[in-house]
Amino acid sequence: MSSNYRHGEGEWSMYSSHTVSPPIIRLGSVSAQRNNPLLQRRLQQHNGLEAGGHPMVTPETDQQTDSGNMVLGGNACARCGQGFRKDEEMVNSSGQVWHVHCFVCAQCFQTFPEGIFYEFDGRKYCEHDFNVLFAPCCNKCGEFIIGRVIKAMHASWHPNCFLCELCTAPLAESGFIKNAGRALCHECNAKEKARGINKYICHKCHSLIEEGHIKYRGEPYHPYHFNCTSCGVELTVEAREKTGELYCLRCHDKMGIPICGACRRPVEDRVVHALGKAWHPEHFVCSKCEKPFLGSRHYEKRGLAYCETHYHQLFGNICYVCNSIIVGDVFSALNKSWCVDHFTCSCCDRKMNQKTKFFEVDLKPVCKGCYERFPGELKKRLKKAYDQTQKK
């Protein structure tokens, strides 16, 4: 979780448990190379030039001739590629040579203050530009981090800047625990956990939700972080999520949520769709007996629903003889219905079928045999009445 980024002599080194592949950064410093006798001498030359103007020929310039600008022994400036005059000072660093005025920061083209430079990817930078370009910034104070870098919480920190968010104890050595997006010391984390049992941490502000949270996309939030998608009012715990948006209860109830055709309240759980309306299952009932269908078959008539018994009772297909619902074929005549087996002559109770000719007396079926045995005067009266209605 943290890495050391040491500023020392020789190389920058990076000890990291992270997967970031460390860039190879090499620090070069003229002063740091003073232990090298050769370089030391060259610096003396350099200094001597500035001081007294008595240049000395370095061993590397041995092959120089007096013929002025000739290239010495194939030595060319690593920056401009030009050779050196016979007695020109040069800077030698890690096997390459430069004109004094060419040995500058790759970014600002100024000589290195105090001769200290940083090398990265074959280029040399002054300390300032190197920091600007490559050094990490502290997530707390915003300053460059030289030396040890704490990498934690997806950011870099000075060791002294990486503190517990609650008690400001330094975490660099003791380590930290991530708690609802915060870096906490072990002690504070334990306190938070104890406080937050059965409580939610707001996914937006990361503080504990003392009472009344709403869930949005599966995460808990303080309701007041949101406004109703429809009317814009600040939300309360009564807010509802619908198709990935949050709405206040009022707007939610008005939108596409089915309203029960009986009680006029929204149907949130199971819903029955019938008669072009939605119903709570327990509110979808027979219009006659008011028992809920609860999945059993219902019959519709003039916009009302009926159970089987009452549909038949109210709308026919009850056998005149057995007074039961007619299963199978129905004989319909004389404003009445019969089971096929129950269609009989009303006078002799003999079975008749659809081919049997029968007479109608008071809207009852009478077979031919019985009608012929009717009292003569009755037949006369019936015929007279029949003729009368036919005339009309």
């Binding site: 007074n323 009303s346 002799c348 109770d349 003999r350 007396v361 809207l363 019985c370 045995r373 009717f374």
Partner: protein, 270 residues
Amino acid sequence: MSKFKKYLDDLIEHKGTEMELIEKGIVNLTDVPNILTLRQLTRITLSHNKLSVLPAGIADLVNLEILTLFNNHLQELPITMSSLPKLRILNLGVNRLSSLPRGFGAFPVLEVLDLTYNNLDEKSLPANFFCLETLRGLFLSDNDFQGLPPEIGKLKNLQILVLRENDLISLPKEIGNLTRLRELHIQGNRLTVLPPELGNLDLVGTKQVFKGENNPWVPPIADQFQIGASHVFDYIRSDTYKYLYGRHVAAGSPPPPITNDKSKKISRKV
């Protein structure tokens, strides 16, 4: 008589539940041996015979559901009959009944009662007649009713009421309580007005029947009849009619004379 013996033996042998003896010239049920012991019978048809009485033992046939005695010579019925516990359909049409026995209204499950073509009137009905609350159809055509007791309103399940060719002078307002009524036949009576309460009922739909021809209706009703039965119902529901009806009843004008000639009815023969 032995002429039914084979039929009865067959019936007993096959444990038949339906007996049919039509136009056999039976004068007395004693002519049919052992009939009253056949407890299994659910249906008995004795139409077109010459029965004048029924034995009290008929009540022993406790499984009887449908009893058809159409066109006999019955003048009276046994008191015990009304105890038949399962009787649903009783046809006594074309007989010679002038009265019904005491307690006749005690049938527990009677649904259809056909008394067409007898000599009955409102005075010949026993006191408990209108306790027959299970009744779906009541057929009283060709009798001598001049009025209906107001208790008719107790027959809550009545769907069919047939009173063709009686001598009815008026209908009780309680007829308006028969909310399940879908057929009313009152043609050929002496009716001049209808109780406005009849307007409570729906008798002019496609599934309903209202027959009211051949009555001496007051002119406004007669006029509506010319146009159609539905107009009669619209009219009797109006305030105009309620006023007219009130005045008509208050005036107490004498009823129209009896016009039906019943002298030739065979039910009159004794």
